[in-house]
Amino acid sequence: MKVFHQTGYRDKWNIESYQKGVGDGLVFSPVNIDADKLLALDESIKKTGFLDPQLYLLNEPKGTLHTYPYFPGNLKPDFTTPDLDDSHIHLAKLCIDFQLQNKFQYLVIPTRYFEDYPSSYFVQSTDYFVTPFCDYLFKKSIDKKVLLSVIVKSIMLSDEEKRNEVLNWITGHQGIDGVYLIFENNFSSKQIKDFEYLLNALKFIKILKDNEMEVHIGYCNTEALLYSIAMPDSITVGSYENLRSFGIKRFQDSENGPMRSPNARLYSTKLLQWVEYQYIQAMKKLIPDYEKFFDDSEFKPLMFTPDFKWHFNKSEPYKHYFFVFNNQIKQLPHSQIERIEMLKGSIKNALKLFTDIENVVLLNDDSNGSHLSTWFNVINAFKKELSLE
């Protein structure tokens, strides 16, 4: 299973980590990197990754999105949905040409985002994106693999009819090799703790794999580990929280308003949890060998010096996460059943470690591994699904 870097603001950290051998490629983000700058990036950085075209909102020129030739606002000012009738073929050409120019590993067909999906969504998506993109690729005899972007909303997981509709749509196209799958995350907790949501996400991935599609899951947080048991082809690592959880706010200008800075956190592969650094300070005072709960990396010695100024803008905790999480993913067995058992073992171990910590440190629900019992139950339920077949 591959690990892609979900890049965004501070993509420099991802590129530096990738160049040191962490991860298998990068997913580039037009709202964060100027088109010319992306074109100028060394081919070695791009040839294993792909572009997330980010046409989620047609006429929202967030960040550097307007520097991309296929940005609809460059085709026509105040571009709206009806304009796609006249522009979809041209837009497809510009978007593919740009991706080809960058020599990415995969070509990606964009998707749009709606709060409430209109009944015509799938027909429109086929007409405006899938068909013109596939037609142009066929015309140019391009033999690169093609991924279809899909945002999966909660309702598409929980409602069987809607789930079948989207799965039928994804698997009903010729010329599509796989899917760039994005689970929309509207949860208020840092970790997803919803049993049904997680189990349905696993089933969703499995159905796509059963249909011999490549599945590349974007915007993953630590639940990428859980998704791994459905055997996707790749998951992502990201630095800031908005790269580890998909929300449309990231693509809206309103996000530039006042925001509360998140507290700095450190990921532990042993705890399967990001832990707020202030709790680490408490652990330091109360647990003599507290460092054993955290992984070693080239960044750890610096982060654990008393002078280290923890801040969510510091690169070290994120580069540490990329490194240790990538290793954790790479250590997963190739066999599905072995992977399942290994993850169950890791969860049991993490729960035991949390018991040790909580003997002296009272953690809050975003740091205390309270998602792990849900994970464990989801794994058991998914395992049951597998053996029923």
């Binding site: 202030q278 330091k284 002296v360 009272l362």
Partner: protein, 150 residues
Amino acid sequence: MFTTEQQMSIMFEKFLKENFGNSYLKECQGLFGIPDFVYYTKQDKEVSIVSFELKLKDWKRAAKQAFRYKSFSNIAYVVLASKSANAAINNIELFEKYNIGLAKFDSNKEFEILHKPKASKPYSDDLSQKIVSTISASRKRSKSIATLSC
């Protein structure tokens, strides 16, 4: 009986002023959590900090919040509305285990300590320095907090 936490906060502020003086910060931000009140005393350049988390109910959440305040406080208290204190009293061992103070408070400004914690050194040097520098210029008068710790 309080119907909102805001009512409780107003009464508690009066209680603090009357009994301990006005050396406190209200809903202090930029720390680890947002305590409802941070009370401080200064003696011979030694600063002592007591944080209070007020809640009408949900003692467990309040305890988790109060534990966070121990990063920059010598003493952290959960103050519950009297009518909902029983559930916390039934779990007093949690407050003992984590050395968190527990008190109940009612609309007559009756403040009763149910578990008195030991004063301890804050967990975070950075946050301690931050709050000390915030209050260092203050000339507000304070009273002893000896009654709040054992």
